[in-house]
């Protein structure tokens, strides 16, 4: 797995960090596409995707950002046992942003792939 962040020194280039952030936000939107999800499960699942995030805790500020941007909304629901749970749901604005990202991502990915494989040929 290519490591972007060295856990010892935490040196990530600002550009990489920014890129990762933008991609991550849309991955969250994609994870909510099939329906609302319990915040805890959402965070656990995202953190379990190899190479996605450095820690579970850093996902919460991102969820807050998405909520403020109106891409997701959260609501409290009673749980069969224990305290009420916070659920996240995609808004129509979020769904639109996800669609746009999908198109952009595929184009960007293909372009990078072409350049990278071209570089290999000439190198």
């Amino acid at each position: 797995m290519p490591r972007m962040v060295d856990p010892g020194t935490k040196q990530t280039s600002p550009l990489t960090a920014q890129l990762r952030r933008g991609v991550l936000e849309h991955c969250v939107l994609a994870m909510l596409e099939k329906g609302e999800r319990y915040a805890f499960d959402l965070v656990r699942d995202l953190a379990n995707v190899e190479g996605m995030v450095t820690s579970e805790g850093t996902i919460y500020p991102m969820l807050g950002r998405l909520r403020r941007d109106g891409a997701v909304e959260s609501s409290w629901q009673e749980s069969p046992a224990g305290p009420p749970r916070r659920y996240y749901r995609l808004t129509s604005k979020g769904a639109g942003a996800l669609e746009e990202f999908r198109g952009e991502w595929i184009r960007f990915r293909d372009a990078v792939d072409r350049v990278l494989s071209g570089g290999e040929r000439h190198g």
């Binding site: 960090a17 915040a39 805890f40 953190a47 820690s55 805790g57 950002r65 305290p83 916070r86």
Partner: protein, 203 residues
């Protein structure tokens, strides 16, 4: 036992997010608390190691705070030469160049993006800027006060309130000095200690 490490974790987090807007602080600490509760609720018979594992997965509170700051577009400035010079000049600058040294320290303090307004007031009035100023003024014959004291008492009062030492009166250096020291001892220490701790944590 387990609760204690959770408490410590949440306390660290609260401390680290102190410079975020209040609403965001509450929101973030609330969500992290819920996360811990949810994780521990899954393991009714959790051990200390389980708790540690949950907290390790959450990550360093400082990292969460950094992420939140970046998501909010808040940039915490890093302490540089200006900040160190300010901290040196505020207590002893007046001894190097009477009054001017302290004022330069004050200007550096207030122009720094590192500290909050609250920190700056503390820095100006209590520590490190305010503590020695009354003493310095006396040491140098109250250069600010007496030079300007055309009508004595009024000028001295203005000077005293500016230095955060309400008890310094123009009559007799010794008494006035003891008065200010007593007062300083009664000033709240906790905020100034936190301000210093914050400075120390600056990279």
């Amino acid at each position: 036992m387990a609760d204690r490490s959770v408490d410590r974790y949440l306390r660290d987090l609260k401390e680290d997010v102190r410079d975020l807007p209040k609403a965001q602080q509450r929101e973030l600490v609330g969500e992290i608390t819920e996360h811990i509760d949810s994780a521990l609720a899954e393991m009714p018979a959790h051990t200390e190691a389980d708790v540690r594992n949950v907290l390790e997965h959450l990550g360093d509170p400082a990292d969460i705070a950094t992420e939140a700051r970046e998501r909010l577009g808040i940039h915490r400035a890093k302490a540089g030469l200006r900040e160190y010079v300010a901290v040196i000049l505020l207590p002893i600058g007046g001894l190097i160049i009477p009054v001017i040294g302290w004022i330069v320290g004050l200007v550096l303090l207030w122009s720094s993006p590192v500290w909050t307004s609250r920190d700056k007031w503390i820095g100006s009035l209590i520590i490190p800027g305010g503590l020695l100023l009354p003493g310095e003024l006396l040491l140098y014959g109250g250069s600010v006060c007496s030079n300007t004291s055309v009508n004595g008492q009024v000028a001295t009062d203005t000077c005293a309130s500016a230095s955060g030492c309400a008890s310094s009166s123009g009559d007799g250096g010794v008494r006035s000095r003891r008065g200010s020291t007593d007062r300083d001892r009664h000033l709240p220490r906790a905020p100034s200690e936190r301000a210093l701790a914050r400075l120390r944590r600056m990279p």
